[in-house]
């Protein structure tokens, strides 16, 4: 009955629509006349960037996509291996892991013709580190000497506008002095916050923001804030990773379901965020045109160590017990359709073995074993208050589903259907402000997307005493000591080994329960080939071929 009436409605609506749009369907190729000669333009789903598109102010994927296309930094992370490779850097020298001399390659220009020199970098970094510019990635420059002057932690008046640790020593050379030893510092320089900036950025900031100019393989052709950005291949791009297509049109979608529908209808070429609800159908809908590869994201459950219920003798047994009560394999399979992998350490597979990822480092503590879980929790003095509440934000992601599943798993393991409940918070902003205000009384959702593919980035910001993202305020002297030693180590292999030792401290205390590694997923149309996601789960646009 309902079907019949809908068909009737649909038919009459369609008749009207057809007359008006003059048969709008089936013209997905109308964007450009090009075929396989590399001049065709592809369209891709996008979200409205949350912050202005400045390199040191962009800390989420959507703005990051654009920066990835229009900027190239000293280093670039290999889209497949995640290794930091020299891009604009001719060489980065150091003898003591604290003072670096950086030489910029000759011959690079911004797309407006201006030369990329050492000054382009130093000016950009000084801008990013200066408190008055409100750059949200300012803390990236925190290792550079003089940061405490340009960005006083207590928010008082800054006493310097430039970092004393940065000095231009020639057209193409500059030196960096860090305030501590940090052997892997050069490998962090692929992060977009370290991108060089042209003079136009400083002289006419408003105009630059309307239409950012960079030195990457693409230039921005037009930008309608909040709805669409058209990027064009920059034919004068001096790098080796030239764009293999004519350009990319980023379209803002409010709902990733609509983007997916558009892909199905041939109205969109690339969706890099397949909605959870569609994961079941994606194979039959797209066949081989679906990719699902590891990304540098790990989901964990963090604990409030400022609450003495969670920070007393035996608490680590309770936490380990909880970890063992979670059936990761089942949840990743049924809820996430294998777009997540059960975690067995606190890093990510994208680091690779050499980079510090160690499969199984968590050992027993991450294996599902209801009996052991029950025993451990009992030994540890039971759940604080007899029940745990897992706090999460309910507005984005499908957090509710997996939190409920985790709770179910815990309840089943403990034979107590009141042992665990979810505690949703309405918006992400509120969730964050409650965490910052230390209002958590039990475990809470913690996700970490890496800034750069180094084991240091998975440990130090999260578990070091008072680190920027140490939301649970966990503090452990052994861990801090090992991290300091690792940072001072000039040999990468040895540094990684030290970090892994530090990671074992995290494990023995179960500072956070690792849940699963997140994959990046994308679906694409028949026109595209050579579609890949980099370790940051951003499509490698410049390598995509159209036609």
């Amino acid at each position: 009955m309902r079907g019949a009436t809908h068909a009737k409605w649909a038919a009459c609506a369609a008749a009207v629509a057809l007359a008006a749009t003059a048969c709008g369907g089936g013209d997905s190729g109308s964007d450009s006349g090009g075929s396989s000669d590399g001049s065709a333009v592809l369209s891709s789903s996008w979200g409205d960037p949350q912050n202005p598109l400045e390199p040191a102010n962009t800390n989420e994927v959507q703005g990051g996509k654009v920066l990835d296309m229009i900027f190239r930094s000293l280093k670039k992370y290999n889209p497949e291996t995640g290794k930091a490779e020299d891009m604009l850097a001719e060489k980065i020298d150091t003898t003591d892991s604290q003072n670096f001399t950086i030489t910029v390659k000759d011959g690079w220009t911004f797309s407006n013709g201006e030369k990329v020199t050492a000054k382009s970098f130093v000016d950009a970094w000084n801008y990013g580190a200066s408190l008055k510019n409100n750059q949200k990635n300012a803390y990236f420059f925190g290792y550079i000497d003089g940061y405490d002057k340009t960005h006083p932690d207590d928010g008082s008046q800054q006493t310097a506008d430039t970092l004393s640790g940065l000095k231009v020593t020639g057209t193409n050379t500059f030196t960096v002095k860090l305030n501590q030893k940090f052997s892997t510092f050069p490998d962090t320089l692929g992060y977009p916050a370290y991108a060089p900036l042209p003079q136009a950025f400083f002289t006419d900031h408003a105009a630059w923001l309307k239409k950012p100019v960079g030195n990457g393989p693409y230039t921005i052709d037009s930008y309608t804030k909040g709805s669409q950005m058209a990027l064009k291949k920059w034919s004068g791009y001096p790098g080796t990773d030239k764009a293999q297509n004519g350009g990319v049109t980023l379209k803002v979608y409010t709902d990733n379901n609509t983007a997916y529908t558009d892909l199905m209808a041939g109205n969109l070429d690339l969706v890099d965020d397949v909605p959870a609800a569609q994961l079941k159908n994606v194979k039959s809908d797209l066949g081989g045109r679906y990719i699902n590869t590891p990304a540098g994201i790990i989901q964990t459950l963090a604990f409030p160590f400022y609450d003495k219920n969670w920070n007393k003798a035996g608490s680590e047994k309770v936490r380990t017990g909880l970890s063992r009560a979670i059936n990761r394999a089942q949840i990743t399979e049924t809820i996430f359709q294998k777009t997540r992998t059960p975690a067995t350490d606190w890093t990510s597979p994208v680091l690779g073995k050499e980079g510090g990822f160690q499969d199984g480092l968590c050992g027993d503590a991450c294996d599902y074993d209801p009996a052991a879980a029950k025993k451990l929790i009992q030994e540890g003095g039971g759940l604080p208050g007899g029940q745990i509440k897992i706090t999460y934000n309910a507005d984005t992601g499908s957090h509710k589903q997996w939190i409920d599943a985790v709770c179910n798993s815990i309840n089943n393991a403990l034979d107590n259907d009141k042992a665990c409940v979810g505690n949703p918070v309405g918006t992400f902003a509120d969730f964050r402000s409650q965490i910052t205000a230390k209002k958590m009384s039990g475990p809470f959702r913690a996700g970490w997307q890496m800034d750069y593919p180094l084991i240091q980035n998975f440990l130090q910001p999260l578990y070091y005493t008072n680190a920027s993202s140490n939301d649970g305020k966990w503090s452990n002297k052994d861990f801090d000591k090992l991290v300091n030693e690792a940072n001072a180590e000039t040999d990468t292999t040895k540094a990684v080994a030290k970090f892994q030792e530090a990671e074992k401290v995290v494990r023995d205390n179960m500072a956070a329960i690792p849940l699963w590694y997140q994959n990046g997923s994308a679906g694409y149309s028949e026109r595209l080939s050579n579609v890949k996601l980099n370790p940051f789960s951003v499509p490698v646009y410049n390598e995509i071929k159209v036609g």
Partner: protein, 307 residues
């Protein structure tokens, strides 16, 4: 008449202040908006303090509200977190939503009233029963179901339309979304018109008009319909405001970057400036639409006078 309008306009002032204050407080209660700006990380203390100062969030709420209202009266609705002026957001969002609303209202008027007249005149006949049944179905199916179904059928299965609306959002593209948006109201308009027509058909003036030997067309349009429209006009008038604000679902499904989209994003990001600004304008639209409806009564029924 003039005095009546002035009085009504004056009444809008307290409503305006009250509603903006309420929204302002509600958005404020949600917590600290800066906390959500740094992703899953914590903004460093200095930067967030600086940002708070810049957006005026370090002041007490009443002071924030007063400053905000002061700015609004000079036409400055503040700046969204992504650095765009709220007035700029409005300039892009409102034209789109207004077009969508126009399409929806046209559907309501043309299809709704036509169906209402036809069924009202043929009460109890098969046409009447089937249309009634149809409206029942439309009313009981939620908008997002109708929207997703039409999008899937017309956009993907049959490929007659594009499933999403482009940035330009031309009238042609907005026909299906407009129909979806209007569907429920359309059913109500049909039912209202039908009842009203059926009732007035038996009234004295209609019998007189028929007795005078006027052509059937003229009796229906000039005498019967005109008098039956008063409840319908009330409904459509208030519906303008409801459609503009309530388009969030439809705009999401068809990816229309209108008011609903901006509001949704504003709420998610706890962007006080965007939310309060847009809702303020929506409140104004609602008030003006109501005033227009009241004035239309006098046009439809000369017996109604406003002193």
């Amino acid at each position: 008449m003039g005095r009546y309008v002035v009085r009504r306009l004056l009444q809008m002032i307290p409503v305006f202040i009250g509603s903006t204050l309420l929204i302002f407080l509600m958005v404020n209660v949600m917590g600290d908006p800066i906390a959500g700006l740094c992703g899953d990380k914590q903004c460093d203390a200095a930067t967030s303090a600086q940002l708070k100062k810049e957006f005026g969030l370090d002041k007490p709420v009443w002071q924030q509200y007063l400053t905000y209202m002061g700015h609004v009266f000079t036409g400055d609705f503040g700046t969204a977190f992504n650095g765009q002026k709220v007035t700029e957001l409005m300039a892009t969002a409102f034209p789109v939503t207004i077009r969508l609303t126009i399409v929806a209202i046209l559907f309501e008027i043309v299809i709704g009233i036509t169906l209402g007249v036809v069924t009202g005149l043929k009460r109890g006949r098969p046409v009447d029963t089937s249309v009634l049944l149809l409206t029942l179905v439309v009313i009981s199916v939620p908008t997002f179901v109708t929207g997703l179904l039409l999008q899937l059928l017309l956009g993907v299965e049959w490929g007659w339309i594009k499933p999403s609306v482009s940035t330009d959002a031309t009238f042609g593209e907005l026909i299906v979304p407009g129909l979806v948006l209007a569907s429920v109201s359309l059913a109500y308009v049909t039912r209202l018109t039908r009842t009203s027509i059926a009732e007035n058909r038996r009234s004295d003036y209609v019998r007189t008009a028929v007795a005078k030997g006027l052509p059937r067309q003229r009796v229906i349009v000039r005498h019967l319909l005109r008098n039956s429209l008063i409840p319908v006009v009330t409904f459509i008038g208030t519906d303008i405001g409801a459609l503009m604000g309530g388009a969030i679902v439809t705009e999401r499904i068809f990816n229309i970057h209108g008011v609903g989209y901006q509001l949704y994003q504003g709420i998610l990001r706890q962007n006080t400036q965007t939310v309060v600004g847009f809702v303020t304008v929506l409140v104004l639209v609602f008030l003006v639409a109501n005033l227009l409806v009241d004035l239309l009564y006098a046009v439809l029924d000369p017996r109604i006078r406003y002193a």
